[in-house]
Symmetry: C2
Subunit: 449 residues, 2 copies
């Protein structure tokens, strides 16, 4: 698998995710998967399987009432396997990239980060570490939620199931909720909202960041000196996006009677924090997203498109991609030759990769919007939100997904799958890089702008 | 001025355009500028002046009925001066860039294109050439329209005025029409639609392309060998965007009873051609843009955002910017080190400039959409269309501009001004580039995607 990962990364990711989705679709098709016992339609089983395995959280049927307990257990398993798959494949390909680059670009092997990433060692160790880290954080979230759900009057079995479901759904940024009401009853309940919000935030940082933080901690007081550039960029950008979303969404929804308007000030602040974490890309909501202002939707569209950290269960173009583009623009404005940050120079080809990621993402979003506008009567605001939510595997919804015609559901399925697999493939694609032209053409400059 | 252009290009462009807009606002304020004699409100005079000088064509009042003949003459003068200003400033700054780059990057001076651009010679010659070329093409369009308008029964004075107005408005990609009906009565009139469409298309290629084509022609049979990379990229991308727009808009509006639906096949093809040229960025329309499908609006949004050629009267991020980004993605997919096209290598810093142009443009569009959604009740589809039309100085409208509150009109004024001036400033900004860091930081690669 390590060899395959290096040689056919896109094919590996597409095949693995395709096969897992097929299996989970089959698991959701039998009559006993639904609460009514009549069995799901193929398109709804497929959509739910894709949404679970790609840790998206968009639903065409209500998870809490439509599926049986067996069905919900299948969905939870899909989330766990999908989340592990994403982190493992992305981390494996990241290692493959490091090694391949090490072969062709001697300079790079001297850089600290490469050595540190490689020192994670063999594939088996990596997978064990991913499982240990993820289960630990999921269990921590569940351990805080369990006594709270018990205190709120749930039976032990029900409270445990809900706590575990939310723990796994949060850390994996899956956005699925086990009941029809979801998190709506807990809007002002800090003991429920905060652990889920933190679980999502940490999960969206990505495994390379978590591993680096764990390693750095071992160095004691000077731990921050052992943080990689990737960790610094990811954490800084994630915190900045959180702050921007908190201020803008908070201000826009402050007086909206259908969302934050009737809440007390502390709850408004909590709701704004939660709503600014979720686009990156947890997908939970404590207020009705469909009742937000269209300008808030647009802000969330932008946040969702950016998404979370690389090699995380979050989707989107990733926070480092945004950071590299912003740093490039800053360097351009200053007239600097290099793109420098945190005392490091970012390789030039990183920028080209960033552009490819953004451009291909934007094109997929645009094409899907055109398709959905053509086959439905929904507005651009609604369609754009749902399309970006699917592409970035966020799972927030203005409420139109369940009402889409089958054609529209298939469009979103394709987007979730491509948004998920594309992320991994891009990472792997640069591992295959070894062609080098010997003859270079003469340089000529077109006029830009 | 040549020295100022090199040293403070952004300041020069902003000051010149600001001053010209102020003058034309004053010219439109007197009572005799309006047909009713009551005088225009300040915001409407300002909006019209900005729209004319920035060759946009968005209107808050009907040009054909609201303004007096004096008012319409002022608008036409604004278009002509604005168009000349854009082409002259952009070309001057282009020269300044060539020279400055020549000083710091010896390699570049060896490239053919630079020598050719510099050989245009002094500022006076450049301005004379721009005036000769623009008046010639404007006169050619007017000369075809005049007999047609006469044949349709207009008086000579009226026909001449309309022919000259359309000639100037078309070549300068201004999109203003001299009558209330605009081009609606001529939907199937090839002798009106084709010359205006061609005038817009040629105008949107930009002066550097026109000058290069004129020079290359002198070399006889082998003329195509003397085309610069900029010319090849601009023409190829413009033709490709025309073809894509023709096919997609044509297919989407083919059966729409409110647009192409009731037309015969030949007229449908003509309408689709015209509608696919206008977003780049002529702004005329032979059918009601507001009656098109929302998916067609989205396609036109994308085309408008791209806009026309550099140093042309067209706006947007420019076709070469799109081309460079597409070529970079192609190179990235192939694993090529260089971005090659037409046997030439595109300098790496060109890509960074492209990203800055696209990112800043997208941010301006996003922020303006959020502002307009906040202060009006219009839909995202309408607001996005109008915002991109203003940013890219296109002038197409879904019909909401006249109904905007004053705050919304000021937002669009700012967008038209920044869209216009920004284009020129960006071009000039790289002329200022001379800082070079001596110490380079060690390289480190973040994970992307
Ligand atoms: K999600
Ligand atoms: K225009």
């Amino acid at each position: 698998m390590d060899r395959t990962a290096r040689e056919y990364p896109a094919r590996l990711a597409m095949t693995v995710f395709g096969a897992v989705i097929a299996i989970f679709t089959l698991l959701l098709l039998p009559p006993w998967a639904t609460a009514s016992g009549t069995g799901a339609r193929f398109v709804d089983a497929l959509f739910t399987a894709v949404s679970a395995v790609c840790v998206t959280g968009l639903v065409v049927v209500d998870t809490g009432t439509y599926w049986s307990e067996y069905g919900r257990a299948v969905i939870l398993a899909g989330i766990k396997i999908g989340g592990l798959g994403v982190m493992t494949l992305a981390s494996l390909l990241g290692m493959a990239v490091s090694r391949r680059i090490g072969l062709t670009q001697k300079l790079l092997t001297a850089s600290e980060a490469k050595v540190r990433t490689s020192s994670l060692g063999e594939v088996g160790y990596l997978i064990r570490l991913i499982i240990v880290v993820s289960v630990t954080i999921e269990a921590a979230v569940a351990a805080i939620l369990l006594p709270r759900f018990l205190a709120l009057g749930e039976s032990f079995g029900s409270a445990l199931w809900h706590a575990v479901f939310y723990g796994i759904s949060a850390f994996n940024n899956a956005g699925f909720v086990p009941t029809a009401e979801g998190l709506m009853p807990y809007t002002s309940d800090w003991l429920v909202v905060v652990p889920i919000g933190l679980g999502v935030f940490v999960g969206a940082l990505g495994f390379p960041v978590m591993a680096n933080l764990l390693q750095a901690r071992r160095f004691g007081r000077r731990w921050y000196r052992h943080l990689s550039l990737h960790t610094k960029l990811t954490v800084t950008t994630s915190v900045a996006l959180f702050g921007a979303g908190f201020l803008i969404i908070g201000a826009m929804e402050w007086a909206n009677p259908r969302t934050f308007g009737d809440q007390d000030v502390a709850t408004k602040l909590l709701s704004a924090s939660f709503a600014s974490i979720m686009p990156r890309s947890g997908g939970f909501s404590t207020v009705d997203t469909g009742a937000m202002n269209p300008e808030s939707w647009l802000v969330m569209d932008a946040l969702m498109f950016v998404g979370g950290g690389s090699a995380s269960t979050a989707g989107g173009i990733k926070v480092t991609t945004l950071a590299v583009m912003l740093l490039a623009i800053l360097a351009e404005a200053r007239g600097d030759r290099d793109i420098d940050v945190f005392g490091r120079r970012i390789p030039r080809d990183t920028l080209r990769l960033s552009i490819a990621v953004v451009f291909i993402g934007a094109t997929m979003v645009l094409a899907s919007c055109i398709a959905l506008l053509s086959i439905t009567e929904f507005s651009l605001a609604e369609v754009l939100f749902e399309v970006i939510s699917a592409f970035a595997t966020v799972g927030l919804s203005t409420g139109i997904t369940a009402d889409l015609p089958d054609g529209g559901k298939y469009v979103l399925c394709a987007l979730m799958y491509l948004g998920r697999v594309g992320t991994i493939s891009v990472l792997g694609a640069i591992a295959l890089r070894d062609r080098r032209r010997v003859v270079r053409f003469p340089e000529e400059r077109p006029v830009i702008g």
